[in-house]
């Protein structure tokens, strides 16, 4: 039922056998998955299934206890979020994404500010460049952000998402992780974010899209994987599944049968 086996060597991102425990709690118990360039992969599962933890392992926030990550065919090991970003993985979080007191430009470039030399020597922020690039970029994603020097504090939820997405676009990420990006957005802003997810994929980026709204997921994803209690229990092309089937896996109803055949989803 899964078509994922066919993209193995060309996968933008491939993780295998990821395990992660916090103290006594085993949160991830050997998760393997892959996403191809230009593909949107939906990730669904119960609260606490381990979705966000898996994403944090991929984006360098947590280190896995076991397992490995391959980017475009090369093994990588991230010690910090910075390593992951440098390797081309951008993550868009629902919350905690922006520094409220900094402006839009500063946020998009945060952690990677362009530098020019003051008096040919002293490194300083290249504000001119930041503002220039940001203006062009915001035009490109058709966001309605009033002006790049507005502080993040003053933006709406959808505008905040747009800033985060602009960040991913600008840095030409290879993988973009979106963790429940639409949870608090109204229908129209949600539409916008979904459109942007597809736009990212159209630029050849592999997108991991986490969400709880199966309608949304089935609409925009190419493929969807289901997590249940720290395991991947299902992985399927969206065209080949239904809400009902996904829920069966999400609730562990299909778990016994899955455990037998788990090798299939590698």
């Amino acid at each position: 039922m899964s078509a994922s086996g066919t993209v193995s060597s060309t996968a933008a991102l491939e993780v295998s056998g990821i395990e992660k425990r916090f103290g006594a709690v085993e949160v991830l118990r050997g998760v393997s998955m892959q996403v191809a360039p230009g593909e949107v992969l939906g990730v669904v599962g119960d609260n606490g299934a381990g979705k966000s933890t898996l994403m944090k392992v991929i984006s360098g926030v947590h280190r896995a206890d076991a397992g490995n990550i391959r980017l475009a065919g090369h093994d990588v090991a991230f010690r910090t979020p910075r390593d992951a970003r440098d390797a081309g993985i951008e993550t868009i979080y629902q919350d905690l994404a922006l520094a409220d007191h900094l402006d839009v430009g500063a946020n998009i470039f945060l952690g990677r500010e362009p530098i020019r030399r003051f008096a040919g020597l002293i490194p300083m922020l290249d504000e001119r460049k930041i503002h220039g690039e940001v203006a062009a970029l915001l035009g490109r994603i058709e966001s309605h952000i009033p002006d790049p020097s507005a502080r993040a504090l003053d933006l709406s939820g959808g505008q905040r998402q747009a800033v985060a997405i602009a960040r991913a676009l600008y840095w030409k990420a290879k993988i973009v992780i979106m963790d429940e990006p639409t949870a608090a957005l109204a229908v129209m802003e949600t539409e916008n974010v979904l459109k942007m997810a597809r736009q990212l994929a159209a630029e050849g980026i592999g997108v991991l899209f986490i969400g709880h709204n199966l309608v949304e997921i089935l609409k925009i994803c190419d493929r969807v994987m289901v997590m249940y209690r720290g395991r991947k229990v299902f992985d399927v092309r969206c065209a080949d599944t239904s809400q009902t089937e996904l829920i069966r896996y999400m609730t562990g109803y299909a778990d016994a049968e899955t455990n037998k055949t788990e090798g299939e989803y590698q």
Binding site: S59, R85, D86, D100, H101, G111, G132, D147, S149, A150
Partner: protein, 329 residues
């Protein structure tokens, strides 16, 4: 990336205007208060406006201003440093001992004292990022430790007999401004540059604004905080050196309450204890405001007891006006 379209001029200039406006607003309280005080004190005693008095105000503000600069960085990360006074005492003792009891010379004494400040800052920063102790507690601990250590250095006795050359730090003048004033000005300029124009400064504000966001974009938050507290320690040590030169004698119990003045200066200058905001100029103006208050009340013959009460009201008023402004925006 350099080949992208050049920005339209409106977009280039707008942010500057907006940021500048924000900046002026932040300083408004301190600036207006200072002007009002200058007028009042100038009327009460015209000598308040004399050149020599401003010379002394410059000397008197320098130590607090330097400390306020260090405190600005720390408060911008949503931290706080209540150990500054003790660290001033400890570093002035150490510096004096090196100057008087060894033959290492002035440069070495200054360098070693600054190193001590870095170590102290690293201990505080380490408690915060490694042990997970909140800044208030980490620096409360350091307050006690540094105070005890300062007393232990000479078993409580003051140190006298500093070399004459060392006094130049506070007493010498350039263009009529005392050197210790110049030190504060130079530190302020560098600090303002660092806070506003470099990655270090941007990360400082980003961490204070949202530490988790900063971490997720790849900023090494623990390392940055460690550096911030080391910087803070170095600045406190520098303040200790300037203080030593100014007082010409090292006393293990000096520096008391200096941290409170420094914190008050930051707050008066528009900084927020919740982090993410703060300007060097604002903090320096805050320090100046308090110094003018002290100096002016004495010249006007107002009791220093009353001055305390006024100071308390000014600190609370500064934050209130700041809130008000934000609400009305």
């Amino acid at each position: 990336m350099d080949q992208r379209v050049a920005p339209k001029p409106e977009i280039e200039t707008m942010p500057r205007g907006r940021a500048a406006l924000r900046f002026v607003r932040q300083l408004a309280f301190a600036l207006i208060s200072i002007v009002v005080l200058i007028i009042i004190f100038g009327i009460l005693n015209p000598r308040f406006l004399s050149a020599i008095n401003w010379f002394h105000i410059t000397q008197q503000v320098a130590v607090i201003a330097i400390l306020a600069i260090g405190q600005t960085f720390i408060i911008a990360t949503a931290g706080i440093d209540i150990s500054q006074g003790s660290v001033v005492a400890l570093s002035s003792m150490i510096c004096a001992i090196i100057l008087v009891d060894t033959h290492l010379g002035m440069v070495a004494a200054v360098a070693l004292t600054l190193l001590l400040g870095a170590v102290v800052g690293a201990m505080v920063g380490g408690s915060i990022v490694v042990l997970g102790v909140p800044p208030f507690i980490a620096t409360l601990g350091m307050l006690a430790i540094a105070m005890g250590a300062a007393l232990l250095t000479t078993n409580g006795t003051p140190v006298f007999g500093l070399p004459d050359g060392f006094q130049a730090i506070s007493q010498g003048t350039i263009l009529g401004v005392p050197n210790m004033g110049w030190i504060a000005i130079v530190i302020a300029l560098i600090a303002a540059f660092v806070l506003n124009k470099t990655r270090f400064g941007r990360y400082t504000l980003a961490i204070g604004s949202n530490a988790e966001a900063a971490r997720r974009v790849g900023i090494n938050v623990p390392r940055h905080l460690l550096m911030i507290y080391m910087l803070g320690g170095i600045i406190s040590a520098l303040a200790g050196i300037v203080y030593l030169s100014y007082t010409a004698a090292a006393q293990p119990t000096s520096g008391g309450n200096y941290e409170l003045y420094a914190i008050a200066a930051v707050v008066i200058g528009g900084g927020s204890l919740f982090g993410g905001v703060g300007t060097i100029l604002g903090s320096v103006l805050g320090a100046l405001l308090m110094t003018i208050l002290k100096n002016g009340t004495q010249l006007a013959g107002i009791s220093s007891y009353v001055e305390q009460v006024i100071l308390g009201i000014v600190v609370v008023g500064a934050v209130y006006v700041d809130n008000l402004r934000r609400r009305l925006r």
